[in-house]
């Protein structure tokens, strides 16, 4: 492993080493084992425990959240040491070394660390290769994932429009009456021709307040009988009106 967390200081009257934060207790143990040039399969537990505890006592950089994990390892080390010291009635058999559990863990962890260093190199190489990032496909019009607007959204947009129209202060005198039925037919015809209507834009095209109001009611009626669908692509965006697909199929 070439990422030993170790940095030598320049002025070395006495040999000084500064340790950086370790990822975990196994990291620290492996480091100590390497520092002491210990055979991982034959660890002198007394030596390593002393080193480990010394390090814990000295080191203030250990992440507090992880402290427990380091202390747990210390306890394990002491436990192993005590097992080695206690006299036994029967000598230990082959492979019954109390250190076995720890050694297995260390060996496995060492392998993982080695794999990590290979993967790290690969990561380095891959990060300078760029592929085209695919954008998610745009939603099809009238697809179900659009937000279907509520009556209140429609009404709110409508009142904004009415305010605008009022401000325009039309003085059109016309003796024409607008019927709902005619307006509905007109909207359907427009939808069939254009496919989609912009709600705000459509009402802006209406000449008088009365006509606009009638168109609004017609639209509500059309929505109610499920001939058209009003959707909003995103919140606060303009409301669009589509013919319902099933109604198109019916005609």
């Amino acid at each position: 492993m070439n990422d030993v967390p170790l940095r030598e200081t320049e002025n070395s009257e006495s040999y000084q080493v500064r340790l950086e934060v370790f990822e975990g207790p196994l990291d620290l143990l492996l480091f100590l084992i390497r520092k002491k040039k210990i055979d991982i399969h034959n660890i002198p537990i007394a030596v390593i425990t002393k080193e480990y505890l010394e390090y814990l006592g000295r080191e203030e950089q250990i992440n507090l959240d992880r402290e427990a994990e380091f202390v747990l390892m210390a306890a394990l080390l002491i436990h192993i040491k005590s097992q080695l010291l206690l006299p036994r009635e029967q000598p230990l058999g082959e492979g019954e070394d109390p250190r076995r559990f720890l050694v297995d863990q260390l060996v496995e962890f060492q392998k993982i660390k080695a794999a990590c260093s290979i993967l790290k190199e690969r990561e380095e190489g891959q990060l300078s290769l760029w592929t085209r990032e695919a954008l998610p496909p745009l939603p099809e019009p009238a697809e179900a994932d659009l937000v279907e607007v509520s009556l209140f959204d429609l009404a709110e947009s409508f009142f904004i429009l009415m305010k605008r129209k009022e401000a325009e202060n039309f003085r059109v005198v016309r003796g024409k009456n607008f019927s709902l039925e005619e307006k509905m037919k007109e909207i359907i015809a427009a939808l069939e021709k254009e496919g989609v209507l912009d709600f705000l834009e459509y009402f802006n095209r209406q000449e008088t307040l009365e006509e606009a109001i009638v168109s609004f009611f017609s639209l509500l009626e059309l929505i109610k009988v499920r001939l058209v669908m009003a959707v909003q692509e995103r919140l606060f965006q303009t409301i669009k009106v589509w013919l319902r697909r099933e109604s198109q199929a019916r005609q």
């Binding site: 992880r66 994990e69 993967l119 592929t131």
Partner: protein, 186 residues
């Protein structure tokens, strides 16, 4: 080989949104003999490798994909306004390689191998879509089971889990370590 076959393959890989597996190419071009299509793919890889171009065709994440050449990385990043790509932390890398080698694996198994609580790390890996949850283990507590994703393979330029560093490669690294340690200190 049928004329234009190489170019057809190139077009397919170009429009594909993700690494395009060879099977998918042969399946699409089923009006040509599979062997010819495979040859066309090989030729294409070869010709993009030799040509003086900004992109090359590589096999990664289980399929063929066009990537920029590494030497043009600085300009691509300037264009995309990315100072540098963020790398995985060593905790993430550790956890990820445990998942890769020990999958299917549970969180407590990962934590036991590392001797470190890994719940936060696994969460970040899930967010990065480098690992995924594939079910629950039938053991006490029914813990979640984790596996690596296709994206994991692509991230490291691997085509399958078989391409992970092998025991020999790992042993070699550990061996090299020893020789370094045994060298006398200056």
């Amino acid at each position: 080989m049928a004329p234009g076959l190489k170019e057809i393959v190139e077009a397919l890989i170009f429009v594909s949104l993700e690494p395009l597996p060879l099977e998918k190419i042969t399946e699409t071009l089923n009006d040509f003999p599979a062997a010819e299509v495979e040859q066309a793919v090989r030729d294409l890889v070869e010709s993009t490798a030799s040509a003086e171009r900004g992109i090359s065709l590589i096999q990664s994440g289980g399929g063929y994909v066009f990537t920029t050449r590494p030497e043009f990385d600085p300009w691509v990043r300037r264009f995309l306004k990315i100072d540098r790509k963020s790398k995985l932390s060593s905790a993430s890398l550790e956890t990820l390689s445990i998942v890769a080698y020990h999958q299917p694996v549970t969180l407590s198994e990962i934590s036991a191998l590392r001797n470190v609580d890994s719940s936060y790390t696994i969460k970040t890996l899930l967010e990065k879509k480098l690992v995924k949850i594939t079910g629950r283990k039938k053991s006490p507590g029914n813990p979640l089971i984790y596996r690596t994703t296709e994206r994991f393979l692509a991230y490291f330029g691997l085509n399958s889990l078989d391409e992970l560093p092998t025991e020999e490669e790992i042993a070699k690294i550990l061996g090299e370590d020893k020789t370094v340690e045994q060298a006398p200190k200056p």
